[in-house]
Structures are given as C-alpha cells and as structure tokens.
C-alpha cells in the first residue's frame, strides 16, 4: 500500500509526536507514505471564514500535487477540508473551473482522500495487525474520541457511522485495550476557538474530560492534533476550574497502536504529552510482559 502523505501544518510543529507515531506505525504495517511535494495549507477554519474560493483553492493545490492515487491525511481538519473540496469540485463544474483558474492548472480529480484511521482500520486486515502485535495494551481503559470533523457531514466524510463511529474502538480492542462506552465520541472540542474564545473551549472540552473520567477512562484516544491539543494543553486548568483532581491523558491512536506494535514510548513521542502518561505507560508495560492474547 502506497499513499501520498499530507501531514499538514500541525504535524510538522506542535503535533510532531503524531507525525512520529504515524510514520512508525505505517512503517510496521507496510504502508508506504510519500509526502506530497509542495503541500500547502488545508484551508482550515480561517480560510473558509474569509474567502470561499481560497478555501477551495488551497486544498485543491495540495490534492493536485499528490503523486499517488490516494492521500492519507492524519489530521481530521485537513481530512475534512480536502474531502469537502474534492466532493464539491467533482459535483460543481463551474466551481471547478474557477478553482482551476486560480490554480492555473487542471484539478486532479480522482485522487481518493482518506483519513489515516480509515486506512488502518479498514484497509489493513485485522489479522495482519494482530500478527504484528508485540504485546497488548493490557486492558487499558480508554474512550475513543473521534471529534466532530472525522465523520461529518455524512455526504462528505462518513467512512464510519456519523454519530456512533466504531472503527477506532475496534482497532483499540484489537490492541488489547478495554474500550469504554461514552456519549461524547463525536462532540466538538471547541477546536480553533482555543485561541480566540477560550471560555467556549473550556466549557466544551471540560464536558468531554468529565465525561471521559466519569466513564472511568485512563486515556482519551484521539485522531486529530487539534482535539489533542485542546484536551491536553488546557486540561489542568479546565479540570481545576471544575474541581476535578483526576487527570486523563489524550493520546493519539497511532501512539497506542505503536506501543502494541512494539515501538518505544520515546519513539512515539509520548514525552510531548503534557498530562502525565507514566501510569498509562506502566499499564502498557505490564501488558507487554504478559503473553500476547489480544482479543479479536
């Protein structure tokens, strides 16, 4: 399997640990990633609130630069923007013409835009992953957090159930985690308001964190660097404000999968997570010593 890899701005900066773990996991699973030459901004929040044409042209530029038949995007926001652009440019000829004029070259329709979670959960056979496991996550209690952009809107993004996605759950179960049910798997974290309206983010992320803790989670598993940073960076302040003493680290699904596949915590960038992950890593270490009995 070979994909054009679109890290997006975050994975080259604040989300470096996501990039690290993605590359490690893909390498082990035999997924070849070829970084898109000259990729640019996905257009995220700012572009589509400022200029519609720009919001299409930016992702169209990146898609057109792709060298492979399909793009793997690990960031949910990037994924959503690229996907949204592709769907609209395919359906709307006049928009496409406008965008092509802006790009000054034809748009490359037909490149599949995929989120990395979709690729790992749906393209790699479970048995294959299981065969490569170096241990289990030792029954680590996790909640899977998909965020608001990964599966919505249905017409654009749904590779899984829009309201009740399960692909990450299955992947984590495969790695030997105990996946807990919780009602907030697709609720927004506040996203880019992180900078402009922290009050909103504190409110929304606060609800997520208390819900995860109420469910008994030892980790919130995420698939988006934006979600991760809101859940991680702001966690101490938010929970303190709510008078909650427990903490729950927000880790990438690739980090946990990486641990199960035998990569070291260091190689997976665990150090860059603010909330203390030592007990989590200890749990996993214990699991790794136990013989591999991951459930199917």
């Amino acid at each position: 399997m070979k994909f054009s890899y679109y890290p997006g701005c975050t994975l080259h900066s604040t989300g470096a640990e996501y990039d690290q773990s993605v590359r490690a996991v893909c390498h082990t699973l035999g997924i070849e990633l070829v970084e898109i030459p000259g990729w640019g901004c996905c257009g995220a929040t700012s572009a589509h609130s400022v200029n519609e044409l720009l919001a299409y042209a930016l992702p169209a530029h990146t898609i057109t630069n792709a060298t492979e038949e399909a793009i793997a995007a690990p960031c949910a926001a990037c994924y959503n923007r690229l996907r949204y652009t592709d769907v609209n440019l395919r359906e709307n000829a006049s928009l496409r013409a406008e965008v092509e004029k802006a790009l000054d070259r034809p748009y490359r329709a037909g490149v599949a835009v995929r989120h990395l979670l979709d690729i790992i959960a749906n393209d790699v056979p479970g048995e294959e992953i299981q065969a490569k496991l170096q241990g289990t996550l030792g029954g680590l209690k996790v909640v899977c957090y998909y965020g608001c952009l990964l599966t919505r809107p249905k017409k654009v993004a749904a590779f899984d159930d829009m309201e009740e996605p399960r692909s990450m759950d299955r992947l984590m179960q495969l790695c030997g985690a105990e996946v807990l049910d919780w009602p907030h798997r697709v609720v927004c974290c506040g996203a880019a308001f992180s900078l402009s309206r922290t009050d909103i983010v504190r409110h929304m992320t606060g609800k997520l964190l208390t819900s995860a803790l109420r469910a008994g989670a030892e980790a919130v598993v995420v698939a988006c660097p934006m979600c991760q940073s809101n859940l991680d960076l702001r966690q101490p302040a938010i929970l303190k404000e709510r008078g909650v003493r427990e903490r729950v680290p927000a880790v990438y699904f690739t980090q946990l999968l990486g641990l199960a596949l035998g990569h070291s915590a260091k190689a997976l960038g665990f150090r860059k997570i603010m909330v203390d992950t030592s007990s989590l890593l200890a749990r996993v270490e214990a699991g790794r010593e136990a013989p591999a009995e991951a459930e199917g």
């Binding site: 249905k154 159930d161 829009m162 309201e163 009740e164 049910d181 009602p183 907030h184 609720v187 819900s211 109420r214």
Partner: protein, 668 residues
C-alpha cells in the same frame, strides 16, 4: 385516404387570445387526410358537440381531431361524441393547444404555428390509427382488505355496507392496529379505544365481513376484477371454534416476562396471549417462538387448564386461495427504530422512550394503568423532554415530515400536566405543523394553558449523568446552547412503512416511493389508487397520516372498490401492448421488466417446411396491461407494439411535427 374532421376550440379567450384559431382551422382544412375543419368558441359545450356530430354526418368523417385542452380534461367527452357520430372513439385524438400552447406562450404568431403543428401531428396519428374496442372483463364481487388498523377496518366496513363481501386480513392476533394502543387522541382528547373498539366489534360481526387474523397474504395473481389471492393462515395452536376466550390459559402460562409487542416492551405478555384485553377476536394464540413447550417439549400448562380442549399443538399453517375483484391495502406504518440514531442513546439510557411507549404508559388500559413513570426506577418524572423530528426532516435519516408528531407531542405535554401537575414539559421543535381542524388551537393550548416549554431547535445529544438524562440542544430563538436535565425523554420518531411493505409491494406488483411507502397513481387526482388497476391504498401505508386522514382514505378506497365491484364487468382501455408471435423470440425481457405481470410466457406452434416447430413466445394478458410501454421499449426484436401508440402512429406523429421544418427547408 382518411376523412378526418378537425375541430379547433377557442376555449373562450383561453386559446383564442393567443392562437389565431380561425387561421389554424383554415390551414388544418388543407392538410392531407382532412375532410373538414372548423373552429368554435366552446367545443365541449352542447352546441360544440352538436357541430361535431353534424359535420361527421355531412362530411362522412372517419376520424376526429379536437384541438382544445388537455386530454386529461375532455378526452372522455369527445370520445363519447365520436361514438355517437359512429366513429371509433380511438380514432379521436386531442391536440392540446391550451396547456401546451396558449397558456404557456405569449407570441401570437409562434403560438399559432405551434397549434397547427400539434394539429398536424394528431391528424397524421389519427390517419394511422386502427379502430379499437374496449376490453371487457367480468368482475368477482368480493373485496380483500389487507391490514386491520383503523384505515383497513373503515374500508372493510364501508365496502360491507355496500353489500359486498369483504375479507379483512390482519397479520397480528387482533385487529385494531396502532390506534388500539393509543391513549387519548388529539385534538379532542377523546379516548382512542372508546372510539375504535366499537368499530372493531362491528367488523367482526358484519355478515359481509370475513375476518382473518394471524394471517398473511402469500401471493397475488390475476388482475383487476379477478385477483386470485393465496392467504397463509398462521397456526394459532388454539382452536378458535372451541375457545370461548375465558383467559384461563394465559393466566396459567408460566412465562410471563415476554416483552409485549402491543405495549412496545413497556409491559409484558405470556407465551399464549391475547395482545390486549379488548382484542378482536378476543381469543388467544400461542407464540411458537417463546412458548417453552415448542422449545423443550415440556409444559402444556395451557392445555391442562383449558376446559374446552381448544389447545392444539399440532396445528400447522394453512393456505387458502380466494377470488376477489378488488384489493385495498392498509398495511400501516412502523416507527424508525430509534436505536439507529446513536445520538439519542435509545436503549442505552432506559429513561429515553418513544412516543408510542409513552402512549402505552399513559393509557389507562396500559401496563402501568395510566401512571407515567421512569422506566429506570419507577419514579414519577418531573422534567420531561419531548423531542420532535427524531429521524424525520433529517437528511441523514428520513427527509420527509412524519406529520403527526407535532400534534401528539403537544398531546403528551398536556397529558403529562394532567397526570403530574407539577411536571414540566420541554419540547424541542423545528417548527410546529398544525394544519388540521382544531390543531393550531390544540398546540397553543399545550403551550399557553398547560405551560409546556417550546424550544425552537434541535437536540444534538443525550447522555446520562447521575441518574438524570442530560439533553443538549440549541435554542435558535435565543441563539443559545441549552442543556436540560431531564427525568424522562420522549422521542417522536419518524413514521416509516410497516415492516414487510417492500415484500407486499412485490407480491401485489405495485410500486413504492423512495421512502418505501406505496405509490399512489396520482398524488392529487388519484390519491387512493395505485397504478395497478383494482388495487387501492388506505392509511399510513401510503404516507404518514393521522387518524382522521386514515379513516377518510379508508372510506375513499372503499368507495373506489365499490365503484368497481358493483359492475357486472369492467371495461379497460384497449391501448394495451400486443405481441407479434411470428417474430417474438421468447426472450421474455418483457416479462422481466413489466411491473404489472402483463406479459405471460406462452408458446406458438408453426408448421415450417412440413415440420411442426414449437417456440416460446410472450403473450400480453390484456386484463393486466396498463399500457405503460415498458415492454415495447425493452423488446430487442421490436415484436411488441402498443395499440393506439404503434410505431406507425408515433412515426407519423413525428413526421407531422417535422413538416414545418421541411416547409422551411423547401421555402414553401
């Protein structure tokens, strides 16, 4: 050469103000095959018709073209005139120069030319048309009603009232349908059972109605006037001839914890059961799936206690073939399974219920005897959230409006207030649709008099926290996100076609719409007909409906059925497909594509070179053909023609259209 008369109508000013009718008539008189042409103010009026009759005689006409309005309007009128004039009615065609011409154009010159085009086309077509005779089919004077809900019951009662034998088939153990389980009904708050049960009893007692409960339609053959229907009478394991409905059996049944279908799981039933105390027939059946005797071979408690020896474990499904002339389909609705919509966490949170479950709870004859409680702990709820449009008006689930939810949510809010005076109802709505008589006043009453809190916005998510249900949603009037901490949440889930509707459609050979409801023949003018002759629709199987609408449709379908069944024989349009057996290869593509089952597999034996050769061919059952033309189009060998729309006629018609172009090319 044909002798066709052309009659151009002014339709008052409707046509004449845009089309130069006089010059059109003058030009028409010079067309090949036209023996006479004239114009008149109102062709459909008595003098107009007389003019046609006189011209037909004077000019020995053998075909008519009436250039006037849509054939939907007056085709029967002018066919009648043709018949009176001794001209085959199918050699009369209407050129629609009103809807297709004067009403949609402003340019007088262009409209006039187009009117003449239309006439030229019809003249060419009439010149090519064969005289046709209507097809006559004798009628079996018996009706079948499928589905014993209120629509089906009403339809059966009305057909029976016309003195026609009616067979009412219901697949559950009792008639009554969804309505039998409702509490009070909007907007009058009269008790549902009080108004329905007398009708149920009437249906069971009518000398003209044969009631088949626990029975399903297996197969339908034949066509309008003469259907052959196979019924599967499911084994009840109770001999209803012997049973007197004393109820000893189900009181003794040791298995009492089976979720009751009638109560939507709010209450329980036994393995041998009557679905509800007022059931008709009020005699039990044994549910083979849950009866322990069928699982283990032990128990027979009901058999032991039955003094009339009515229990019969040996019973098997029986099949019965009946002949009927008309079928009324009233198979009703189900609700969209709310568990499919994960955001409402139905099933995961016990205090999230559906509107139908609320009905059973608030019904005095229901499992809680009218007491509204939280399923989780049996406590009285003080804060109840009602969610409108759960799965309806939602592009992710069902795009249509389920129509009745606004009203029953208001009703539930009122009932809540009546039963628990200090309770508070919150209703999340998109907008309130209250279009029926007394409906607007009713929801206003809930809002103003009963203090229900209406929040204009949708619910995004439910979750449980500390024994309460947190309802997150939006109030679009204030622009705020709201959060209600509720004791009970009631979901107004979308109405969907009853389970098995698709299969029923296949059996009946009628079509369904994109949402799976049965398709009516015309959304406005033939709302209770299907495209298949002799099959009619009543109630929510056609679209979401409330009780008055369902009843009205039941009566309407009955009237349509009676109209058919009171005739000795019916005549059908002769514009049916016809196969040329000499060139038919018997590939039976037509059999595959026909939605009405009209082409039938047949054989032809020919003597070729002294040798008898038998070949498969297709043959059209004229009684079933609806004249849609699908078989004509799908026939690879062009062996099927449609009477009245033959290739020759269509070709000629096209030629008539092209004439103006030809004239332009040749400067004539």
């Amino acid at each position: 050469m044909a002798r066709i008369g052309v009659f151009v109508c002014w339709c008052g000013a409707n046509i004449a103000s845009t089309v130069d009718v006089e010059s059109v008539a003058e030009a028409a008189s010079r067309l090949p095959g036209v023996a006479f042409a004239t114009d008149y103010k109102y062709m459909c009026s008595d003098p107009g018709q007389k003019a046609i009759l006189e011209a037909a005689q004077e000019h020995r006409l053998d075909g008519l073209v009436v250039a006037a309005c849509s054939p939907r309007m007056h085709e029967p009128t002018f066919r009648q005139v043709a018949a009176e004039a001794g001209i085959n009615p199918f050699r009369m065609q209407m050129a629609n120069i009103r809807e297709h011409c004067s009403w949609v154009h402003a340019d007088r010159e262009e409209a006039t030319a187009k009117a003449l085009d239309a006439i030229r086309m019809m003249v060419a077509r009439v010149a090519q048309s064969e005289p046709l005779e209507p097809i006559k089919v004798p009628v079996t004077r018996r009706a079948l009603v499928i589905g014993g809900g209120v629509a089906g019951i009403q339809a059966a009662l009305d057909v029976a009232d016309g003195g026609v034998e009616t067979i009412l088939v219901e697949r559950t153990p009792s008639i009554g349908g969804k309505m039998a389980g409702l509490d009070e009904t909007f907007p009058t708050l009269d008790c549902s059972q009080c108004i329905l049960t007398p009708k149920m009893v009437d249906a069971s007692r009518s000398e003209f109605i044969k009631l088949y409960t626990y029975c399903e339609v297996e197969k339908v053959d034949g066509s309008v006037g003469n259907f052959k229907v196979t019924l599967r009478k499911k084994a009840k394991y109770v001999n209803h001839e012997l049973c007197n409905g004393c109820g000893d059996c189900f009181h003794k049944c040791p298995y009492k914890k089976i979720p009751s279908e009638f109560d939507y799981g709010v209450g329980n039933r036994t393995a041998i059961y009557v679905p509800f105390p007022q059931a008709v027939p009020n005699k039990p059946v044994i549910d083979r799936e849950t009866c322990v005797f069928f699982k283990t071979g032990k128990c027979r408690a009901c058999e032991k206690v039955c003094l009339r020896n009515a229990i019969d474990f040996e019973q098997e499904d029986e099949f019965e073939e009946i002949d009927v002339g008309a079928i009324i389909v009233a198979t009703g609705y189900d609700i969209l399974e709310p568990a499919e919509m994960a955001e409402f966490r139905y099933g995961a949170i016990p205090d999230v219920i559906t509107g139908l479950q609320f009905e059973r709870m608030s019904s005095a004859s229901g499992p809680t005897e009218g007491k509204i409680v939280r399923p989780s702990d049996g406590e009285e709820p003080k804060v109840v959230v009602f969610v409108h449009c759960v799965g309806s008006r939602d592009e992710n689930y069902k795009e249509y409006c389920s129509k009745i939810c606004c009203m029953y949510n208001a009703k539930h809010a009122i009932i809540l207030k009546h039963r628990i005076h200090d309770a508070q109802a919150y209703l999340f709505y998109i907008d309130v649709r209250a279009g029926g008589k007394g409906y607007e006043e009713f929801w206003k009453r809930a809002c103003v008099e009963e203090g229900a809190e209406y929040l204009r916005g949708r619910v995004s998510r439910l979750y449980d926290e500390n024994g309460k249900v947190i309802v997150e949603g939006q109030d679009t009037l204030s622009g705020e996100q709201v959060e209600v901490v509720a004791d009970l949440v009631v979901l107004a889930t979308a109405m969907v076609p009853a389970k098995g509707t698709e299969e029923m459609a296949r059996i009946l050979g009628v079509s369904t719409d994109k949402d799976g409801f049965f398709n009516e023949a015309h959304p406005k003018l033939r709302p209770v007909d299907t495209a298949t002759g002799g099959i009619f629709l009543a109630g929510a199987c056609q679209a979401p409906k409330d009780i008055p609408e369902s009843v009205a449709q039941g009566s309407a379908a009955a009237a349509k059925a009676l109209g058919l069944l009171t005739k000795e024989e019916i005549t059908r349009e002769p514009t049916v497909a016809v196969v040329d057996p000499f060139i038919c290869t018997g590939c039976w593509n037509c059999v595959t594509v026909c939605p009405f089952g009209a082409p039938e597999k047949s054989e032809i034996t020919m003597t070729i070179d002294g040798r008898k050769v038998t070949r498969p061919v297709s043959e059209i059952n004229e009684g079933k053909c609806e004249g849609c033309g699908l078989c004509v189009a799908s026939c690879p060998g062009n062996c099927i023609d449609q009477r009245g729309f033959s290739d020759d006629q269509v070709y000629a018609e096209l030629g008539g259209y092209l004439e103006r172009l030809r004239a332009a090319l040749t400067h004539e």
